[in-house]
Amino acid sequence: MLDIQNLHVSINKKEILKGLNLTIKAGEVHALMGVNGSGKSTLAKTLSAHYDCLVSSGQIKYKNKDLLIQSATQRANDGIFMSFQNPVEVAGINNMYFLKTALNEKRKSKQQEELNAASFLKLVKNTVKEFGIDDSILKRNLNEGFSGGEKKRNELLQLLILEPDLLLLDEIDSGLDIDAIKIVANGINSLLDKNKSVLMITHYDRMLELIKPDFVHILQDGKIIKTGDYSLALQLEKSGFKNLGDKHETF
């Protein structure tokens, strides 16, 4: 699904990613861990065409197509969904209006019929009910005045409605209490099948307990220095990043 080769990315003329390689196959769940500033969020932002990220070299193939020539809109409509660490507040845009527009843009890009208001409302109401999401966020403006937890629930709602193929989760667990983490994990697990993949950025393993990764990668100074399975996350939890050793192991 995703193949990243020798990726170099700068932000504000400072190189953050320095030759990163990563392959994610359909149906796989990957966790990306690393100290602050190692480049985890930069990778997620690059994959979703954030304007800050300047790719100086390397290539990214997504569904066997060159991802780097695609706009953020095209990437989203082709199934990439970035769950933001701190989603921006957009005062004045109603959350439901936004979500309906996004869903219908995606459907349009796939030559599917647009959903009318009634069908859309039914879909959203069923979704919030099924996953225990507080429906008060629906009537409000997009993330405006939302608490950290509400923002993450709103990201989850978008994710469930838009049904992406590649989920980029940038610390979706931060700011959530344990019950909210379970709701989010439950929602994400419900989406997963052999065609959907996840790249999950996290500092802690509580999310990884609920969404079991197939692979765990350690990012350091813009490169993946170690790759393992879930046990690597458990090892990190015990001993921290300092005791990983210098040996670079990639799969």
Binding site: A49, Y51, S71, I93, M96, F98, T101, A102, E105, S109
Partner: protein
Amino acid sequence: MKLFELDFKNHIKDTIAYESLQKLKLPNKKTEEFKKFNLNDIFTTQYKLNDSTSITLDKYKYLISDKFYTIFLLNSQIKESHTFVNENIQYSQNKKKCTTSNNALYHLGETFLEYENNINISKNLDKPLLLINLCAANNSFIPSSLNFSLEKNCTADILELFISENHQECFLNVNRAFNLSKSAILNYTKQEKFLENDSVFFNFNSDLEQKSTLNIVSIDSNAKKSLNSWDFILNNENISLSINAITNINKRKSSANIANIIHNGKNITSIVNVRHILKDYSSAVFDVKSTINKKAINANILQSSQTTLLSDDAQINAQPRLLIHTDELEAKHSATCGAINEEELYYLTSRGISKNKALNMIIESLETQTINKIQNTILKDFVLKIKGKNNV
């Protein structure tokens, strides 16, 4: 007739207004406030006076609803009303009284009017009043005048919707006066649906008694030239005045909000908050002068101009001015100018919305922030519906 040449004496209906106009003189190129808002082309255009054209009222009947009292006006003359079922709203047309205003444009309109229209509200209205102003004229100068009066302790929500079906170049000079008795509260909204050949000047003045509250929301768009002239002398105590306006224009259109607010009484709050969204070669003027005289202690004043420039060629000329002659007050003034928030734009595109659509959504959201100042939710929803916004 060309207004600039003042060769319109045969049409004068109000000689006192005409004398005031002569004394005050129409703004010329040298007038500071109009440096970025040239009126010369209007005053030198050849207009007919009130050459009205036919209009089908039935076309707009869909706007009538049980949620409002509704009055239709065609070129400022009442045509059809659904209000007379309510005895608390009286509409009348009387011989004009002398009006004092320092605004020459106010007297310009009055000069050509023999009668003045009055809407008097005597008790609290159980639902909002909707005035649908239909403008249908041909290459005309259209003066109009309407006074709103609220009796003591009375509260009302009023929306004036202006819809144009004008042909060729038309110039509307619209005078509105608010007369609020003690402790009256008027929430007034003005929404425009003008055409690109229309030039529209709104001239507002007021007589506000003590403890009265006037909340205005003004939603401007599309007219070639649009001016809101807010001329308020606040003589009584404990008055609250707020003006929230939005201008969203493109091409070579221009807009101005010019306010002259004088605080003479104690404990007066005045707020002027204008948001501009300027595309292409459009330009806007924000010229707000608040004078707080010596006896006007404990005043609370806010002047704010917020501008979003959507092109390198759009222009804003913002002058928030405070003339303070007293010590005890709180006053803030600001003028900000910027582009569209890139992070907001990116967030919308990252969910699959095209850049153009996302941009329009953000612009709409800026408008909605001003529309949200409308306190009555029925009116707010109606205004959003007219704008075609946020519909799921």
